[in-house]
Each structure stands twice: as structure tokens, then as C-alpha cells.
Symmetry: C2
Subunit: 153 residues, 2 copies
């Protein structure tokens, strides 16, 4: 191992870590969604799946995973629970039996009517933040994600 220059004093303090700020903020955000989602009987990751399907119904697990950055190991059981709750249906594509088509049921589509209240429930708590600042924050996070995922920038 090559010896390198020392880190600045206190560089390893928890309260200076970007990673911890992210980790804590994400958990706080999930908690903020929890009451509103509880009323719909959804978990937070299930809600994210529905956000995708409400925009574009009838997707393969692969396509859902690409948008959510999740693999079948996470999605398969999650989708089975959504299916058991009567929110989505899971059917093999007859043209390619490897593929599973995930489709909203009538109930799943009806749930969309309640999404605005979920959105507002969290938006209210951020009411004192500038929307522009929040949009900028989101953009920075997307850029950070790209960088961390080995974006060849």
C-alpha cells in the first residue's frame, strides 16, 4: 500500500460526511412519506413502483428495474406483494416467456387518484424551502448519483 498524505483533521467525523447526510436525509424522507402511504396500504418502495407504472403501464421487471435502479432480487418479492394486494398483475409475455409484464389492475389505477394527497403531505413540510432550491438540490443529487455510478464524465 502506498503511503499517502494525511487526511485533514476531523475529516472522518460523522457530521462532516456527505454519505451520512445522504443516509439520514433519505431515512427522514421515507419517514415523512410513511403516514400518507400507510393510509393507502403502501410501502415507500411500492409507491415508487406505482409512480413508474402510473406514467407508463405494462412494463417488464427489467424496465421497472432500470428506472428504479433495482434488480429482480428486490422487485420480484415486492411485485408479488403488490399483486397479492390486487394492485398489479404479473403475466408472462407470450412472445417471450422470459419476460414478465407488470400491469396495473383497476384498483392500481384508482389508487393514482390518491397520489396527489401523498405528494402534498410531504410538500407541505417543505413549504418553507424555496422550490427552486429544492429543484437544484434534486439536480445535484442526480448528478452525484451519475458520478458515483462510474459515469465516464
Amino acid at each position: 500500500m502506498a503511503k499517502r498524505s494525511e487526511l485533514p483533521e476531523g475529516a472522518l467525523r460523522l457530521d462532516r460526511q456527505l454519505c451520512f447526510a445522504l443516509y439520514a436525509a433519505t431515512r427522514a424522507m421515507t419517514q415523512a412519506y410513511h403516514p400518507a402511504l400507510d393510509a393507502l396500504g403502501l410501502t415507500y418502495p411500492q409507491y415508487l413502483v406505482l409512480l413508474v407504472l402510473w406514467e407508463e403501464d405494462d412494463l417488464m421487471v427489467k424496465e421497472l428495474g432500470a428506472q428504479l435502479m433495482l434488480d429482480s432480487g428486490t422487485l420480484t418479492p415486492l411485485l408479488k406483494r403488490l399483486e397479492a394486494a390486487g394492485i398489479v398483475s404479473r403475466r408472462r409475455d407470450p412472445d417471450d416467456e422470459r419476460r414478465l409484464r407488470v400491469t396495473l389492475t383497476a384498483h392500481g389505477r384508482r389508487l393514482r387518484a390518491k397520489a396527489p394527497s401523498v405528494y402534498r403531505c410531504v410538500a407541505e413540510r417543505l413549504a418553507d424551502q424555496s422550490p427552486r432550491e429544492l429543484a437544484k438540490l434534486r439536480e445535484q443529487l442526480v448528478a452525484l448519483t451519475q458520478t458515483l455510478k462510474g459515469d465516464p464524465s
Copy 2:
């Protein structure tokens, strides 16, 4: 339920959600730490616990939890795994048997020498980002966490 004004068109798209940007960035960050932590035999939350203990050894589960925003339901099994790995010791406080004092072992203290390489491994990937921008991002995330946690601002 009171009827409210409509949400802006596309407000519910996944790629416009701050919550998803956070969620994705946190998972990308955890992944970025994974290779370096694997070499130490640590998980990411275990590393966070050690960051705290390296700053201040001999803490109660309560105090650790306060800094990490985690409860005993998460920390108890995590600390038991760190104990099994010989990294921390867990002992009841003789003055108050409710309390559990978590202390680094010699091995746990030695691990600190390898922390800078973990830090650098991730810092390298962010090398093209301005340190000031990253610091600002961290501060915004801390503020966001406070707001979401019902900070009476």
C-alpha cells in the same frame, strides 16, 4: 377530504421526485463504499458506527443511536455482529444496569488506520466535483433532514 388544487402536470413523475433522487443517491453512495469496506470486513452501517466510536469511545447504545438516528432495534443486532467480529465489546454499566457501554477493542482501534483509505476511495470518485459544492450539498441535506424531522423552524 377537502378537494385541493391540481398538481402541476407531471409533478408525480419519478424523475422529478426529490425523494427518489435522494433514495438513488444514497444507494449509489453505499455501493461506492462497498469495495473499500469489504476489504475491512465491514458493512456500511457498521462503518458509520465506527466513525462515531473513533471520535468518542465508550458510548451507550442510546448515545450511538442519537448520533446515527438509529434505535436499538437496528443497533443491537449490528453491535452484536461487531462484537462477534472482535471489533467492539459490549458491557453493562455497573452503575446502571440498564445501560450498555459499547467500547472499541484493540482490533477496533487498529481498524481506524485503514479508514483514510476508505475515505479516499470514495473521495477520488468525487474528485471532479468542487469541494465547496459538496460541502454545500451536505449542509442542504442536513437542513432538509431537520425540516423533515419536524424541526419547529
